[in-house]
């Protein structure tokens, strides 16, 4: 990072305009920053901040509708905005490379991983086949993939998500580019895999002296990996500086707000156990999926095994786990959106696990669920008011009364009651999630299930929704079952935590117990992998 070295990437005064009719004129406005050799620069921002647009502009991969209107992008002194398509193609992979968010879709499913990396070498080098293969095996080894020979001949679907992302990294680094652009490369991965990938990127770039432009929305990742941080908001660079300084002494109000919205990984001190009546109890709950195959042995997947949980009134129980751990299966069994294959579910004193659909209907309103994706959890064709009153009207409430209740609930979730006749697409993600909460509350449930309800939201919006959920829990004395993969969120909102892995509950106890002194090995590994766990966000130095 010495000043004598020329920066790998220099972005000067870059502006990119959005097509007419968008919500703002510029996707990116007058942004300037540099990436030095051997340095990791993080672009941080919430959705719509323009961070991905910058990455795509640098790679020359911008969609036709977006146009860079001013400024220059210098890659080792060469202005990328003015060079032709041929030169750009030469530069890609040799001087600059990119890894994408979705390792599942970024690889071609009908080519072996080896062939896909080979394509890069074939296009950009004059090496013969044997030399190319040797080079590929070497890079596969360098990204720490086991048995490089086998991986070389494997198709993407035969590999795990983390392995696929390693293939992407191998492909990006095979020609030793000076600049690596990583667009949310770990967002789609589980936390333990994420930790490994972050470690790998950091190791490789120190070794090779590659400059890395790392795009993320996660301050945990920033604390883990970045040397310098640039904070973006609505396409403008708000603040830039060394990681240490930005995280502990941010100057701009927006940066402060953003960082203090990051939930702490240390559980908040919550009241002692309330001895309310038990709302939900599961006994040896299990769900087995089996494919019905006629001629071969049916494939059996045990999504949940022997799950015993209980929630009392006014309490929040969190289920934490990585993808495929069975946490959503448990939630959907309890809401009876799927039928459990074994075990019992007691809602109060009523056993609902084996209840027939007809008898179940009156009990449906007692359990309500809020889903992850705010864009798909409301029917786009009916107004939000109609969505909210649908449930109460199913149970015999008159339209006027239901609407009156809906207006009250809109106030509860801090939205304008007059916007009931609007359609879901007229609201933002956070607002929609609040409407979903209102819809659930309209049923006056005893148990509210939040299935990754804040995972799709930006951190500042997430904070509001979490605060709202907690406030509602206290006011209505609700029992809440909170499903999440995010340890920070779980630490802040849960009284009790159940950690799930491979369909089983591996650890179950109060949040302070589980987070403070985890007993199970898996739980320990999970906590050790949480990015930025050593950093206490939002405790700014004066």
């Amino acid at each position: 990072m010495s000043d004598t070295k020329r920066p790998v990437l220099e972005v000067r005064n870059l502006s990119v305009t959005l097509p007419a009719g968008a919500d703002r004129v510029h996707a990116v406005e007058k942004v300037s920053f540099t990436v030095n050799p051997g340095e990791i620069v993080c672009l941080v921002g919430e959705s719509g901040s323009g961070k991905s647009v910058i990455a795509f502009t640098v790679m020359g991969l911008l969609a036709k509708a977006l146009k860079p209107t001013s400024g220059e992008i210098l890659l080792e002194g060469e202005n990328i905005l003015t060079v032709g398509e041929t030169r750009l193609r030469e530069l890609r992979c040799t001087r600059m490379s990119m890894i994408f968010q979705e390792p599942m879709t970024a690889l071609n499913p009908v080519m072996t991983c080896g062939q896909q990396i080979d394509e890069v070498l074939e296009t950009h080098t004059q090496l013969d086949q044997a030399a190319r293969k040797a080079k590929i095996i070497a890079i596969l080894d360098r990204v720490k993939l086991p048995e490089p020979e086998r991986i070389y001949a494997s198709y993407p679907h035969q590999l795990s998500g983390g392995q696929r992302q390693r293939i992407m990294i191998a492909m990006a680094l095979v020609l030793d580019p000076v600049l690596l652009i990583a667009d949310e490369p770990t967002t789609a991965l589980d936390v333990t895999t994420q930790a490994e990938i972050l470690k790998l990127i950091a190791e490789l770039q120190t070794l090779e002296g590659t400059g890395v432009l790392f795009i993320t929305h996660d301050f945990g990742v920033v604390a883990e990996i970045a040397h310098r941080v640039a904070v973006l908001r609505w396409g403008e660079l708000v603040e830039m500086g060394p990681t240490e300084k930005i995280l502990s002494r941010p100057e701009h109000g927006y940066t402060k707000m953003l960082i203090s919205s990051v939930p702490s990984i240390h559980p908040a001190h919550r009241g002692v156990r309330k001895d309310g009546p038990t709302v939900l109890r599961t006994e040896k709950l299990g769900k087995t999926y089996s494919g019905n195959a006629f001629f071969q042995k049916a494939r059996v997947v045990k999504a949940a095994v022997d799950v015993n949980l209980d929630i009392r009134r006014g309490e929040t129980l969190g289920i934490v786990g990585e993808s495929g751990s069975g946490k959503s299966t448990v939630a959907r069994c309890i809401a009876r959106l799927i039928d459990p294959s074994e075990g019992k579910i007691f809602l109060g004193d009523t056993e609902i696990a084996t209840m027939k659909a007809g008898k179940l209907r009156p009990h449906r309103r007692r359990v309500q669920i809020v889903f992850q994706d705010p864009y798909r959890s409301m029917n786009p064709r009916i107004t939000v008011g109609d969505s909210i009153i649908e449930g109460p009207m199913n149970f015999g409430l008159k339209r006027e009364e239901a609407l009156a209740r809906a207006r009250g609930l809109m106030e509860t979730v801090r939205l304008d009651p007059n916007s009931l006749d609007r359609f879901p697409h007229q609201f933002s993600g956070g607002q929609r999630q609040r409407i979903c909460i209102a819809r659930a509350l309209a049923m006056e449930p005893e148990l509210l299930i939040a299935d990754e309800a804040v995972s799709a939201l930006d951190v500042s919006v997430q904070k509001q929704v979490l605060e709202l959920l907690d406030e509602i829990r206290v006011r209505l004395n609700l029992a809440v079952l909170f499903i999440t993969h995010d340890l920070r969120v779980a630490a802040q909102i849960c009284d009790y935590v159940a950690v799930m892995s491979k369909g089983r509950v591996v650890e179950y106890g109060s949040a302070e117990q589980v987070f403070g002194a985890p007993k199970d090995d898996y739980t320990k590994a999970l906590f050790a992998a949480a990015p930025g766990r050593h950093w206490e966000f939002g405790k700014f130095a004066a």
Binding site: G48, I369, M378, N379, K463
Partner: protein, 311 residues
């Protein structure tokens, strides 16, 4: 802190959400394919409706003196009261002396009626069966195997069988074409239902205790409308062709009702000498089917981006 946060975030989110979704129907009627196809189709429809006022004579009127006239020939017609009038046979006359021009215009009525009726009936039946099949899982296997069976019946064979049981006529033809078409609609609707039923908003509706039939018609069915309109246009085009084929084979519309297929069938024997008997109904048939298909393509591109080639 938190109150400031909220204001900042809300103003951002309102700005983000204020980008309006364009109405699909508005973009659909601006599509050039839809405009071209729709215009031709509209002209055909007007021709069919206004056939009596477009200088036609009774299409079933036989004139032994004026048989097999070439297009443009002047013929003398004897009216019922004994007087004679001269008129030009624009498209000639057939082997019984009937005016081909009048027959072609009146024939448009049958073709369009068959196309529209088949599309509407097949879609209506298919939607109901498809919804049930997609939504009630245990019925799915049974229904779909029946549909597979129906698809195996060739439309023309079915028509022959039906004509031998009932009488040849419009209803029989429509029925014979609808039966093998229904499974295509069922498959389409079922596949949409299977995807949409997994949407969180459908699950949300289930968990607030919405009865199944409301769920199907309020939350699931509207997703089928656009693809069904597209499918409907293609069904209509195919039905018009099949009707022509059936009538041509003499198992469709009875000979006393003019239809494009009938006219061509009658012209078949003298085709080498007097090609106009086949040429004119053929042109009308081709244009109508082409227009419907062009319009269907345009509708598909705008209403159903998943099926479109462009995206």
């Amino acid at each position: 802190m938190s109150t400031i946060t909220e204001e900042v975030v809300d103003s951002a989110s309102i700005a983000a959400a204020s980008t309006k979704r364009k109405s699909l129907w508005l973009t659909a009627i601006k599509n050039p394919n839809v405009i071209i196809g729709g215009t031709i189709l509209l002209v055909m429809l007007m021709v069919a409706i206004l056939a009596p006022f477009l200088g036609t004579v009774d299409p079933t009127r036989i004139d032994p003196a004026g048989r097999n006239k070439k297009p443009g020939a002047e013929i003398t017609m004897r009216l019922d009261d004994g007087t004679t009038v001269k008129r030009v046979a624009l498209m000639g006359t057939d082997s019984l002396g009937r005016d081909v021009y009048s027959r072609v215009l009146y024939g448009a009525r049958v073709s369009l009626a068959v196309g529209v009726a088949v599309a509407i009936i097949a879609v209506a039946i298919g939607v109901v069966i498809g919804l049930i099949s997609g939504y009630i899982r245990w019925l799915d296997g049974i229904i779909m195997r029946i549909m597979d069976g129906l698809m195996a019946i060739p439309g023309i064979l079915l028509a022959i069988a039906l004509v031998s049981i009932w009488r040849a006529g419009l209803i029989t033809v429509i029925f014979a074409i609808v039966v093998p078409d229904v499974p295509r609609v069922v498959r389409l609707v079922r596949s949409i239902v299977l995807t949409v039923r997994e949407e969180p908003y459908v699950e949300g509706a289930i968990s607030v205790g919405t009865p199944s039939w409301v769920l199907m018609f309020r939350h699931i069915l509207p997703n089928c409308v656009a693809p069904l309109i597209v499918q409907g246009t293609f069904l209509a085009a195919a039905a018009i062709l099949v009707e022509a084929a059936l009538s041509f084979l003499g198992i469709g519309i009875p000979p006393e009702i003019p239809s494009w297929g009938n006219i061509m069938a009658e012209g078949r024997t003298l085709f080498r000498v007097f090609p106009h008997n086949i040429l004119y109904p053929g042109i009308f048939l081709a244009f109508t089917v082409l227009a419907i298909n062009i319009m269907g393509d345009g509708l598909r591109d705008t209403l159903d981006p998943k099926m479109s080639k462009k995206v």
